[in-house]
Amino acid sequence: MIIAQQKPIKEIATMVGDCKRVALIGCAGCVTVCLSGGEKETEIMASALRIMRRLEGNPLETVTFTATRQCDPEYVDALEGLVKDVDAIISLACGVGVQYLAERFDKWVVPALNTDFIGGSTVHGIWEEKCGLCGACILHKTGGICPVIRCSKSILNGPCGGSQYGKCEISKDVDCAWQLIYDRMKKLGKIDRLLEIQPPKDWSTSRDGGPRRAVREDVMIG
């Protein structure tokens, strides 16, 4: 899922500093699962902003709502009535949702979150980056561990000379992906595959090739 984290409350407050009435729109998708933009987080943020602004003697009116998702036009359309009379919309969705709201409504839309990465939870409360969004998956070559994103240098013929004690040179908290790949392939009896030289990656399917699009013609009924 997409993992995002809240910006500091002061930063968000500054973004709507000149507003009198704002809508805080949460999202019941990924950000609910990673506990940064769901219903609860939206209400807490609204409360916090109201208190902050009252202390400044410049009260803020808030309207809160949690959309099913902010990345589908029909769910965004449904917010029309809600956001009609606000000066700004604070979106607690990932960067995608913020953009959908901004495009659909002629309102000032600001992001409450920093969209960080795509990944999953390890233990409750910790989420880690797992996928490099390269558009040309090679997980079958590396025992199911992504070298594009979990190796800090995106090495395809790893490990580099900075791998020590199973950790990446950049931090003791980061596992060396290639140590993990080596261990996994060894366990699966497929070490010989790591002796093949992987050719340079075609990055054109990744962000490097420009904004991407996916199409399923068979579901497009006109």
Binding site: S152, N157, G161, Q164, Y165, E169, I170, L194, P200
Partner: protein, 314 residues
Amino acid sequence: MSYLSKLHRIFESGQFAVTAEIGPPKHASAHGIRHHAHMLVNHVDATNITDCQTAIVRLSSIAAGVHILDCGIEPIVQMTCRDRNRIAMQSDLMGAYSLGMRNVLCLSGDHQKFGNHPMSKNVYDIDSLQLVQMVRRMRDEKKFLSGEAIKEHEPRFYIGAVANPFADPFEFRVDRLEKKVEAGAEFIQTQCIFDMERFERFMEMVRSRGIDQRVRILAGITPLKGWRAAKYLQTGVSGMLVPDSLVERLKKAEDQKREGIEVAIEQIKYIKENVKGVHGVHIMAIAWEEVVPEIVERTGLYPRPRFEDRDTAS
């Protein structure tokens, strides 16, 4: 017989090679580079010029190479994968060759987190193995990475890579070295050796697979200025192994710098006599280049061979 470079020729003639390293400055004057080059010119066969080592912005390797070539030393250009994509790399390689560079060392490069510009975007378009392969292909197949032909004047480098016997997983290190040789690496420089026992185990595995017959290996040696330098390398640099006994030895010494030089000399002598499969030594004395001549002389590696004829490609 035509040789790709002087270093290539030294190896081919069966002699124990000596290379050293120069780190370019954090400014735009070549004065210091030339000064160091003059210091080393009679004591080495070729010299590496680092490529923004530890991701700190320094005068470029290729430009520095032009300066030291002018001082009479053969450069080994270093190229990391961190800062350039395949387009810039091939372009720089051709430029370097046109300026007289004949050796290139291909490496991944330290992550920019260590450097003075940690906010920069990193490139890592291709990795060090793919870079070796690419340089080899440009030379032997006269092709760009894209497959397009290089119609004339292809760059013909003598290709080097690095090996780190002290990183993990240890068992896989020799596999990776072999992969680099498969990819086209012709000479290897190792990470600096302090844990001799581990290096010997590494070389045993290398010999058992015949890798020493396929590639020239230069043992990396760094003279330490004192126990603090040793400690720093031990704890602060990923992929280094420094035994406590060495730190202690330096600590106890009356003149730590002198002791550091003695240790380096002992290591080189030991390797020359006892570790088969090593074809030379790579002395990394960054910021201490002045001790290289003494080390070369006292390990019986002076004078360096000279070739009067002009067999080397130019």
